[in-house]
């Protein structure tokens, strides 16, 4: 067991002043950052030897599939449960994600992402009053593409690294763009294709992307966000031209208001 120094940016509540606190924590071989935080919880004493409040953080699955433990580790957004202490430069600096409302210490509220997913109808419409039979078949090549995107755990790393996700801009972020592609590529999900394209052609939509391409670099699931955004750039442009050139479709108005 060796010791490691942790430097943590703390904040007691959403409106309190942030401050830095250092801890010296014993590490077991192959430990991750979560186990260091657990160690502080067990023995909340800072580097100066003063007792303090335990550091608060969020986590759930501990195997990089839920996204809850995202934080800024040594300057880069990633999952604490997948950050192995042996691979990190020391002292280890922990900060909460800065693009989401802070709850306390390292815990943030990622609700805004889920609200955005509602705006783009990130689901397959199957609710009805009768059984609609089995869903249509999906080609394996489409399955491959969709599988990768379906790994998204709304962890928020892409949002954290994006220069256009910030208080001055409404940008929904790359997460939403990936989900538009995921559900538009599904035969039943495609029923909302145009609604989704219109949603990302609106305020805070895809046009806010400035091609910094950080999102793909930090994505823990290696989702090809850059190509997805470029492809949706094409689709929104075509949709826009078409809508204007063709005019509004006429009919009795069966479609739900977009």
């Amino acid at each position: 067991m060796s010791d490691v120094i942790l430097k943590i940016k703390r904040q007691d509540g959403p409106n309190s002043r942030p401050y830095w606190e250092e801890f010296k924590v014993p590490v077991a071989p192959k430990a991750n950052v979560i186990s260091l935080l657990l160690e502080i919880q067990r023995n909340p004493v800072n580097l100066q030897g003063k007792p303090t409040t335990p550091v608060i953080w969020d986590c759930n699955c501990l195997e990089e599939v839920c996204g809850a433990c995202s934080m800024v580790i040594n300057g880069v957004a990633r999952q604490a449960c997948a950050a192995l202490v042996d691979t990190l430069s020391k002292p280890i600096v922990l900060q909460p994600l800065s693009k989401f409302p802070l709850v306390r210490d390292l815990m943030v509220d990622r609700q805004k992402m889920f609200e955005n997913l509602k705006k783009i109808k990130a689901w397959v419409p199957i609710d009805g009053t009768y059984y609609m039979g089995p869903g249509p078949k999906v080609a394996p090549s489409v399955q491959d593409e969709r599988y990768l995107i379906s790994c998204c755990m709304t962890c928020g790393c892409c949002m954290e690294a994006c220069p256009y996700v910030n208080p001055k801009s409404n940008y929904m972020g790359p997460t939403c763009m990936a989900q538009v592609k995921l559900f538009n590529a599904h035969p039943t999900g495609a029923m909302y294709k145009d609604e989704r394209l219109d949603a990302i052609a609106g305020d805070g939509g895809i046009a806010d992307c400035g091609n910094a391409q950080n999102c793909e670099r930090v994505c823990p699931k290696e989702i090809p966000l850059v190509s997805i955004i470029a492809e949706l750039n094409r689709e929104t442009a075509f949709r826009g031209f078409n809508r204007w050139l063709k005019g509004k479709p006429k009919g009795p108005g069966l479609a739900a208001p977009g």
Binding site: P163, D203, A207, G210, N214, S227, A230, L232, T236, G240
Partner: protein
């Protein structure tokens, strides 16, 4: 409604970067390249735009308004971005930052440039020809400012081509994007070398004539 116009406004900004502002820049540089054929050829070339009966319409409609729109909206777009190049030190993130940095340099340069060489002329009535420009550029400070402003504008244009092709969903895969990046780099080097050579020639010309 505002939703619809947000997308349109941003895409129009992207579009004006190439059509017509980028195209104008290319034409402008072609005209200026006549410096390599000597003073008479240069005077003839920059006189082309002045002699056309369509000039006022071209200057306002195809140059002035699009540049103003692209520039003002571009300053806004730069203002609302939050740079993080020291945290995420990726190549593309740096290029993203440089695109905005050169935007501001180009902004200052281009409007000063247009004022001095085009707008001031309306008041003073100075003839715009080889002699005037060469005298102007023989001042080392002006010469250095021109080199910096010119390189910034050309960098912004070349990296802008790369970015434009993604913003319109033309280059989607990373191979295509990287290929375009190589082409844009070559264009930047070529325009950079030719431009510096031309400016140097202009700045030394006064001495040569004397």
């Amino acid at each position: 409604m505002s939703q619809k116009y947000h997308y349109l406004a941003r895409r129009l900004h992207s579009f004006t970067g190439i059509f017509p502002v980028g195209i104008f820049l290319c034409v402008h540089l072609c005209i200026n390249s006549f410096i390599f054929k000597g003073p008479e050829a240069y005077d003839w070339a920059i006189g082309l735009l002045e002699r056309s009966p369509l000039t006022p319409y071209i200057e306002v409609g195809l140059i002035g308004i699009p540049i103003l729109y692209h520039a003002l909206y571009g300053v806004w777009v730069t203002y609302i971005s939050k740079t993080n190049i020291f945290q995420y030190k990726y190549f593309r993130n740096w290029m993203f930052y440089l695109q905005r940095f050169t935007a501001i340099v180009t902004f200052l340069f281009v409007f000063w440039h247009i004022y001095v060489l085009r707008i001031a002329r309306i008041f003073t009535g100075t003839e715009m020809d080889f002699a005037t420009i060469a005298a102007w550029l023989s001042d080392p400070t002006i010469y250095i400012i021109y080199i910096i402003g010119y390189l910034a504008a050309v960098f912004h244009f070349c990296n802008g081509i790369w970015s434009f092709l993604i913003s319109w969903g033309i280059t989607i895969g990373s191979e295509a994007q990287n290929f375009v990046m190589c082409v844009c780099t070559l264009i930047f080097i070529a325009l950079g070398v030719v431009g510096i050579a031309g400016l140097t020639l202009l700045s030394k010309a006064v001495v040569l004539i004397r």
